[in-house]
């Protein structure tokens, strides 16, 4: 059984100072994989050469050099170690930045970050964005994306949703009617509708759950059954209403034997970003099992290898 490493050894291992001595990778996986996010915070604070404290915005920023170094050192981990040691806000900010650079096909990642995170975490990602890229997230998105999707994406990332338990059911019902009419439009027309953008980017998730219920009653069909021709709208709805379904679909695509290199990386992203929310990963695994008839753990065991696999499985077992 792998023993756990203390903070100092982790820092040493990751800094590559003991090159030649070898890293006890099993111990590293076990320690990092099982670590609580507060331990990782301590690790970031202790590693001043790799992380810089952004006091104003309350998070520890990763030095670019360190990111490069980690990628090299831990290439066998497929980026998992890098993402795992970063502050969640920085992770999300970098995901959005990368999605913007890659273009079109990656905009669903922006939807994912904007819609599946809590209000505080989305806000944190925006703060990290300021710190890392010297501009605001919405600024960057607004200047780089044009056409119909811009309005929706800017709206979604700018949201600071109420998260309490008060809701006005009749408002939800009238919003449901508006959405019902709009989603029938062809192509991306639905998201050009200002009311659709308003509903999706300002309403609380609880309100949207009520809206969901009303929509299904009004239309007699499932709002989350891919009702619109706009994939970004469908993604947003799924992320806002049933994130575990969304993530299980992503995982399935990622574990598919025909998946391309980019898609395969989704596996890392989903695991690393959701593992801090212990119930979530568990829910995602359950959803996955139900939907695809085989366990997530089994699939990961078969489709991935080496330290990377061990790391993912550690994260998964931590959630149980």
């Amino acid at each position: 059984m792998a023993h756990t490493l203390d903070l100092e050894s982790i820092v040493e291992a990751i800094s590559g100072k003991n090159v030649g001595m070898g890293v006890d990778e099993k111990a590293l996986i076990s320690t990092l994989g099982n670590s609580h996010k507060d331990h990782r915070k301590l690790f970031r604070k202790a590693s001043k050469s790799f992380f810089e404290e952004d006091e104003e915005r309350a998070f520890e920023k990763c030095h670019d050099q360190f990111v490069k170094h980690l990628k090299l050192e831990f290439s066998r981990f497929n980026n998992a170690v890098v993402m795992w040691s970063m502050h969640p806000w920085e992770r999300d900010a970098r995901v959005v930045k990368k999605a913007l650079k890659k273009g079109d096909e990656c905009y669903s990642l922006i939807v994912e970050v904007a819609c599946t995170r809590s209000s505080e975490d989305l806000l944190g990602a925006r703060k990290a964005y300021h710190s890392l890229f010297d501009q605001s997230m919405e600024e960057d998105i607004a200047s780089n994306i044009h056409g119909a999707r811009r309005k929706l994406l800017v709206g979604l990332v700018s949201a600071y949703r109420y998260e309490g338990n008060k809701v006005k059911d009749d408002s939800a019902k009238s919003d449901a009617k508006i959405l019902a009419e709009a989603v029938a439009s062809p192509g991306e027309k639905a998201i050009e509708n200002d009311e659709v953008v308003r509903i999706l980017s300002t309403r609380s998730k609880l309100h949207l759950q009520h809206l969901y219920k009303h929509y299904n009653q009004i239309k007699g069909s499932d709002l989350l059954g891919g009702v619109s021709e706009s994939s970004i709208l469908n993604d947003a709805l799924l992320c806002l209403l049933k994130p575990s379904v969304y993530f299980s679909k992503i995982l399935n695509a990622s574990l598919n034997k025909d998946a391309d290199k980019g898609t395969k990386k989704w596996l890392t992203r989903v695991f690393v970003t959701r593992a801090d929310h212990s119930d979530e990963l568990k829910e995602i695994a359950e959803e996955y099992n139900q939907r695809y008839g085989e366990t997530l753990a089994q699939n990961i065991q078969e489709k991935t290898r080496g330290n990377y696999r061990d790391f993912l499985l550690t994260l998964l077992s931590k959630s149980n």
Partner: protein, 307 residues
């Protein structure tokens, strides 16, 4: 602070409650007592919302409204202003815009957080729900912004966006999405650079260009104020104060709002600009138009910066 007095020791919350109760009972004669109690920080901290709820019921005069606005934290202050504005009619679009554009990113964030706590929904939800068309597009975007606040500016971008804005304005497309995008996502330093560029290229200030439009176009009016708030807020406040004071009967709502919200920020600068543009000190203009405890409160707040 000449007109306000604070006791040397802070009474306990129960003691404060007793005193306030008797102040309410003897309404009309105990304003000074109320002021001194309300200044006490511990009272505010202990009683927060409940106190405000009782005050809201009791306080209806201008003076009393001034107290109400001045007491809570700035974030809560702003949340109250916006919430009230969404319930009123069109002239209050200005208030929403003012809060969204003249606060720092952190201050606006605090307002959004206070809004959740106080009204059990998000500020953008309420603004969206109570506005329509172009006003909605502009105001929801402004109120949702979390601007980067660095001073670095991209001159090429400023050039591009100045050109873009000029083209849209030339064709009177004031509600154009790009204009709204620029005003609601760019950092203030960048916006300033863009409009400086605009002036260099076209020989007149953007605000002058916007005067070409229809005077009755309320959206255009809001757009002008938005740009003014983002680039020269102190001038915006001078104009707003002047209209509030000169209006027949005086718009106490606006007067109270501006004086109480800018009191610890830039009221002194605003006062100086006011005098420069109107040849009369702000203090004098206010005393001419207001009276009683309301006047005392406003003057005290004006004087605070000098202390």
């Amino acid at each position: 602070m000449a007109t306000l007095k604070v006791s040397s020791s802070v009474p306990s919350p129960p003691e404060d409650a007793e005193q306030l109760k008797s102040a309410f009972d003897g309404w009309g004669t105990n304003e000074d007592l109320i002021i001194s109690i309300l200044i006490r920080q511990t009272y505010h901290e202990s009683f927060g919302e409940d106190l405000l709820k009782s005050l809201e019921k009791e306080l209806t005069s201008d003076f009393e409204r001034a107290i109400l606005l001045w007491t809570p934290e700035p974030g809560e202050h702003d949340a109250l202003l916006v919430n009230e504005a969404t319930k009123r009619l069109t002239s209050s679009n200005q208030v929403v815009m003012e809060v969204a554009c003249t606060r720092t990113s952190t201050q606006l964030l605090h307002a959004r957080q206070a809004y959740h706590a106080r009204f059990k929904k998000s500020i953008e939800e309420d603004v969206a729900h109570h506005t329509t068309g172009d006003f909605k597009k502009l105001l929801v975007s402004l109120v949702s912004s979390y601007r980067y606040e660095g001073e670095e500016v991209n001159m090429t971008l400023a050039k591009q966006e100045a050109k873009l804005i000029h083209e849209k304005i030339k064709d009177k497309h004031y509600n154009d999405e790009d204009i709204i995008r620029i005003l609601s996502t760019r950092r203030k330093a960048q916006i300033n650079a863009t409009f400086n560029r605009y002036q260099d290229n076209h020989g007149e200030e953007i605000l002058k260009s916007l005067e070409e439009g229809d005077e009755d176009d309320k959206f255009l009016g809001l757009l002008r104020s938005t740009i003014q708030c983002l680039t020269r807020p102190e001038l915006y406040f001078v104009d707003a104060l002047r209209s509030a004071i000169n209006k027949t009967g005086t718009d106490e709502g606006a007067l109270t709002r501006i004086v109480t919200t800018r009191a610890e920020i830039d009221l002194k600068v605003i006062g100086q600009e006011y005098q420069r543009r109107n040849s009369i000190p702000l203090e004098k203009a206010i005393t001419k138009d207001t009276r009683g405890d309301y006047e005392k409160m406003l003057i005290a707040l004006l004087g605070e910066d000098d202390a």
